[in-house]
């Protein structure tokens, strides 16, 4: 048996609905036989009647409703159809969920699932990675699982946490990524994972780019380089210690993300390493992001727009040559 990243998300939700009667799922097209645009809730409406609810096309109200339910003791999961449409709910997420605990002392345990990131032919409005926006504002935890195991355990943790969680699941990984089984153990939230230890260069990344980075690391091994790959897992909180420990091993840093290049996760990571681990660096750190344009529809353009194994390997070689 094997389980995909998408199935892990579905299974985590089944588990949550089964174990915790406070949990319900709220989103567009997630109910009935349909089970969501990506089938992440397939079968759950039938198994858990009244707890997997279709909503109108009203992202702002979806999140507002979830906030109210959370204040009343529930543990809602909101599925955005695409991360890109969470722009409509941004006010509720940042200004209502994000400020609730700090203002009122009452926690606001909502989980917002954002099907994120680019896939072939999806274009400017069905491809975005918005973790950088949500992490910038206070009051939110932002998760970006890169593996089937993390997709499963982190979603379960997300719902257990008393604070609002933005759970960025990557659409490219939905079907491409498979594991043999659901995980038995889990790494705590807030801890990054050294996916592959190395001594010559640290590639710090998250979500889909972990896999591109691993492929690039493999390529570089042929040249005799040992690349340390760190998967951040959550971009907020960001596990600075694990990142610094990696840079301490290698002296060199490349930070890779799929989102837009101004600010965001890669700038934050480099800022942390530069400010807190400056003496660890033997060479200038570098970053690789998508280009500073909307995400193109055409595969020829899209493949140039986002980082990938080749561009990562190329950039890594430049750093290693310094």
């Amino acid at each position: 048996m094997s389980v995909s990243y998408l199935e892990a998300i579905r299974e985590a939700q089944a588990h949550l609905l089964r174990e915790d009667k406070r949990v319900f799922i709220y989103g567009q097209d997630i109910s009935g036989n349909f089970g969501g645009a990506f089938k992440a809730t397939k079968g759950l409406a039938a198994e858990f009647p009244g707890r997997v609810l279709n909503t109108p096309i009203s992202e702002d109200a979806m999140v507002g409703t979830a906030i109210g339910a959370a204040l009343e003791g529930m543990r809602p999961i909101v599925e955005m159809q695409f991360a890109d449409f969470s722009s409509i709910a941004l006010n509720q997420i940042l200004n209502n969920a994000g400020t609730q605990y700090w203002r009122t002392n009452i926690p606001c345990p909502i989980t917002v699932r954002l099907p994120s990131g680019g896939t072939k032919g999806s274009g400017p409005f069905h491809s975005q990675s918005m973790e950088g926006i949500y992490a910038h504002y206070p009051g939110l935890i932002v998760m970006t699982p890169a593996t089937v195991e993390d997709a499963y355990t982190m979603l379960i943790d997300a719902v257990a946490i008393d604070d609002p969680v933005i759970y960025c699941e990557h659409k490219y990984l939905y079907y491409h990524l498979k594991a043999d089984e659901l995980p038995k153990n889990r790494l705590p939230i807030g801890q990054a994972r050294v996916v592959r230890p190395g001594r010559d260069l640290s590639i710090v990344t998250y979500s889909v780019m972990v896999h591109e980075a691993l492929a690039a690391a493999e390529e570089l091994r042929a040249d005799g380089f040992e690349v340390d790959v760190v998967d951040l897992r959550t971009v907020k909180p960001l596990d600075t210690d694990t990142v610094l420990a990696s840079v301490a091993r290698t002296g060199r840093l490349l930070c890779v993300g799929e989102s837009f290049p101004w600010g965001g996760v890669t700038a934050e990571v480099i800022a942390r390493v530069a400010t807190e681990g400056f003496h660890l660096l033997d060479a200038a750190p570098a970053r690789l992001n998508a280009k500073d344009t909307p995400i193109p529809y055409h595969p020829n353009l899209w493949s140039e727009h986002r980082p990938n194994e080749n561009s990562i390997a190329k950039k890594a070689r430049q750093i290693l040559a310094e």
């Binding site: 109210g68 003791g73 400020t99």
Partner: protein, 343 residues
């Protein structure tokens, strides 16, 4: 069509129960007026930081909003709801502490003035973005239903200006789709800050929005306390009894600035002579006197009681310590182990 036009003119409450209710409401209104005048004078004296927002002119509407709600209900008051907050049970000390920035208030100096609440007591703490509290109320009601609670209702208020936000639309609609016991009381006080109705919306009466969402709609004269109690009380009752969501649209004039920093010099002179520009508190007091519902001594005593309560709340709050930045732990999340360490 479910909607009925608001009656004009003074209404005559006929029975004893309504009289008792009327007088109770009047006392909340009176207390509110006294408290808000106190806040204004503190503000003018430089003793309040930030804005002061009062409900002058709409105390009747607001009092009625708070009075029909019980423990277990949810109230999301807005900018002009001191009367309703008090009627629903918010301690006066919460108000004083929040305006004066006491660390002992519910917001502990982190937020101020009208942005206060105690979600656990069913009173949500508004964010500024107008309309945003509507779906939040819906969510609390949905949760209560899921948990098997019974006999509850949720009410929130909005201005005619706030009716034009996308959040209000999505929130009103989702309440109907979920079929939760929800009441929205909208007050058209004829201005959103400085903007008159003709740059806000075009329909004849905002109650025309009710059928658009499958709500029952009523409009009313917000200066007439009796009508406020009847109509808002009725709406709460129907929602509680399983009726569709309710939209009540009250007509008033904002009898103060948008906030106390604002002299409202943009308010058209003509409009001040309209029926909806009357002062609901004054009208109620006249009615009480005319009908002999309370004598002059009683009225004076109520005023004195309210003044004493207000003064006590204010002086208590004034003696309390302000928050101290060095003692803050500066974490926006409750799970301290997950607080991001950013240097």
């Amino acid at each position: 069509m479910l909607q009925t036009a608001g009656r004009k003119g003074t209404s005559t409450p006929g029975k004893a129960a309504p009289h008792k209710r009327y007088l109770e409401a009047f006392r909340w209104m009176l207390q509110t007026r006294i408290f808000e005048e106190k806040l204004t004078s503190l503000y003018r004296g430089g003793l309040i930081t930030g804005g002061v927002y009062v409900g002058r002119g709409q105390e009747a509407v607001s009092a009625a909003c708070g009075m029909f709600l019980k423990k277990g209900d949810v109230f999301a008051p807005l900018i002009r709801d001191q009367a309703g907050r008090a009627a629903f049970g918010e301690p006066l000390l919460d108000v004083a502490r929040t305006y004066l920035g006491s660390r002992q208030g519910p917001m502990r100096g982190r937020d101020g003035n009208i942005h206060r609440g105690r979600p656990r007591a069913g009173q949500l703490a508004m964010i500024s973005h107008l309309g945003a509290m509507i779906p939040v109320v819906v969510g609390t009601l949905l949760a209560k239903r899921m948990k098997g609670e019974k006999d509850f209702v949720g009410l929130t208020t909005i201005g005619e200006g706030g009716m034009q936000t996308g959040a209000t639309h999505e929130g009103m609609n989702i309440a109907a789709v979920e079929g939760v016991p929800f009441v929205l009381v909208a007050t058209n006080n004829h201005y959103a800050y400085s903007t008159p109705n003709d740059r806000e919306f075009v329909c004849a009466d905002l109650v025309d929005r009710a059928p658009a969402y499958g709500y029952e709609g009523r409009s009313l004269d917000g200066t007439d306390l009796s009508e406020c109690l009847d109509v808002i009380g009725g709406a709460v009752e129907r929602a509680r009894a399983g009726g569709p969501p309710q939209l009540v649209v009250a007509s008033t004039l904002r009898l103060a600035g948008h906030g106390e920093h604002d002299d409202a010099s943009y308010v058209a002179a003509e409009i001040k002579g309209e029926d909806f520009a009357r002062d609901s508190l004054q009208r109620a007091e006249e009615f009480i006197k005319e009908e002999g519902l309370a004598d002059a001594d009683t009225l004076a005593q109520w005023r004195a009681d309210a003044t004493a309560q207000v003064n006590e709340a204010v002086s208590t709050a004034q003696e309390e310590a302000a928050p101290d930045g060095n003692e803050e732990d500066w974490s926006a999340i409750s799970t301290r182990t997950l607080t991001d360490r950013i240097s």
